[in-house]
């Protein structure tokens, strides 16, 4: 019995290894092409490794960073993601606490409104939202987080209220009897207990904001500010359908590398957080 298992285990491991390699291959393909000269990346030579004639070293990366403004885009994307996630985590958890602790028609109406917003697809509001944001001047990377807070509130409030229903009231009551006002109670007692849910919400919202293409395209002033997905979509197209492939591949690599690093560092939390979000959502 035991011996039979080891043989089948080896076969299964081999198959899984092949699968894993095919999963990694597309990224590897981007990597090898990012070192080739533009002219050497024709559609039929994508699979070839760079040779002496086509190898250009880091030229594509330098070009993407300098001429295409990758660095600016990176800063915009980073700022938008961090500010939006912070705003969502703090404001929505406070709102969720209020909704669960203060019972009444208004609270439950708000709750269902948030849940409803989670389901509605973005295309429903994209035109009117971008016009509203323009009118209120929420169209720079520095204040677009207000829009993300509004549109991301649904999922966050939903996940926070789900968790808050399970934590015992007594701890908060004790704190309030000891003389804490609701703000102190919230920040000193409730918020520390929320940490696991906070991590899940932060990861889910960060993945969404960082990769979001449509909302920033419609809301931001495209000529002035481009987030990374916008840069990849718009910046490498020359005239007559020509694409600057080398620089684009380098740019994709520069986008993927930070994601992979963050993922490998926080793998446990990320996988757990995403799974928790899926089960609740």
């Amino acid at each position: 019995m035991k011996k039979k298992r080891t043989i089948s285990d080896i076969i299964v491991t081999l198959i899984m290894t092949v699968m894993a390699l095919t999963f990694v291959y597309p990224i590897f393909m981007v990597l090898i092409n990012s070192f080739k000269a533009n002219t050497s990346i024709s559609t039929d030579s994508v699979f070839q490794l760079p040779d002496e004639a086509s190898f250009v070293g880091l030229k594509n990366y330098v070009y993407a960073l300098e001429a295409k403004g990758f660095f600016d885009s990176f800063i915009y994307s980073l700022f938008i993601t961090v500010s939006s996630v912070l705003a969502i985590c703090i404001c929505c958890s406070m709102c969720a606490w209020f909704i669960t602790r203060v019972k009444g028609v208004i609270s439950s109406a708000l709750y269902y409104l948030f849940v409803f917003s989670m389901v509605v697809p973005f295309q429903m509001v994209m035109f009117t939202l971008s016009k509203t944001a323009d009118k209120l001047d929420f169209n720079t990377p520095w204040n677009i987080w207000i829009i993300y807070l509004g549109f991301g509130a649904g999922l966050a409030v939903f996940m926070f209220t789900g968790f808050m229903k399970t934590i015992p009231l007594e701890i908060e009551e004790a704190a309030m009897i000891d003389g804490c006002n609701p703000l102190q109670t919230y920040f000193k007692v409730v918020m520390p207990m929320l940490k696991p849910t906070m991590v899940s919400v932060a990861i889910l919202e960060a993945m969404w904001v960082w990769n979001d293409y449509l909302l920033p395209t419609l809301v931001l002033d495209i000529k002035e500010y481009q987030t990374i997905p916008m840069l990849i979509q718009t910046s490498f197209k020359g005239g007559y359908g020509r694409v600057e492939m080398g620089a684009m591949m380098a740019c994709i690599m520069l986008t993927v590398i930070p994601i992979v690093i963050v993922y490998l560092l926080g793998q446990k939390h990320i996988i757990k957080g995403v799974a928790a979000g899926a089960v609740k959502g």
Binding site: V12, T13, M16, F23, P26, I27, M29, V30, T43, V46, F47, M94, C95, W97, V102, K103, L110, L113, F116, S117, V119, V120, P121, F122, Q123, M124, V125, M126, F127, T128, K131, F138, L149, G150, F151, A153, P182, L183, Y186, M207, W210, N211, L214, I228, P229, I232, Q233, M249, I252, T255, V256, I259, Y263, L264, Q267, I270, I271, A278, V279, G281
Partner: protein, 291 residues
Amino acid sequence: MQEKVIKRYWPIFVIPTLGAFAIGFIWPFIQGVYLSFCSFTTIEKNKWVGLDNYIRALGLDKDFKDPSPLTDSLWFTVAFAIVSIVLINVIAFIFALVLTRGLKGTNIFRTIFFMPNLIGGVVLGYIWKVLINCVLLLVGEPLLALNSTAGFWGLIILMVWQQVGYMMIIYIAGLQSIPESLIEAAQIDGATSMQTLFKIKLPMVMSSITICVFLTLTNSFKLFDQNMALTNGDPANSTTMLALNIYKTFYDRIGASWKGLGQAKAVLFSILVIGISLIQLKATRSKEVQQ
């Protein structure tokens, strides 16, 4: 007692989120519903046209020609959803079964399979566009821009690659929650591994299956970034899915009639997605009662 004290603090606790929510969702949503009954180019310049936009969106206006009818996109999306639901869930479940066997390197496999999930749709779309075009050229088929069959299967491959890891994680969690004693008891009673799979493991993870099926279903219906980056609807709007159809109706055409039509399509699309979510809610609720 506490409730009253907390209630007095409502401006601090509720206003920030509610204010942003009003700007980011409630107000645009109300305007959106209203504008779907109008002909407009900006929000202010609108003219009430009643149900005209809806009649056109559903293809009932014989005198009106829409280059990408909503119904075409609906069928394409439905076909895409069916194929991707089956493929993603079957592959993810097999991966989950293998990775719960205690093999060496399980963690590495899990890490690799999950990774594509974190990469954004636009980036994924371009990576696969390059790859698929190269394969098509080598086998002598027309490229993606002229080949709707390749566009369909390209989208499927892309979405399988992206989502298998995610669903696999949910299935692994489901499989690990099956009590060990249950499987051991079955083995002692002489059940083969196939029997344990179909008679014990599958029924025990039914709730995970429901979650994953609906996740893949809503993901397929809401798909936008990948669709835009990989095929952008080419050739001739034959690979345009619902979300991209609405976007193109809004922004790729010039004239007063298109934005109203786009908004009406968006309302219909929302009703469809909300409907799916309600069915999902019902399905998961009834599962909970059984357990």
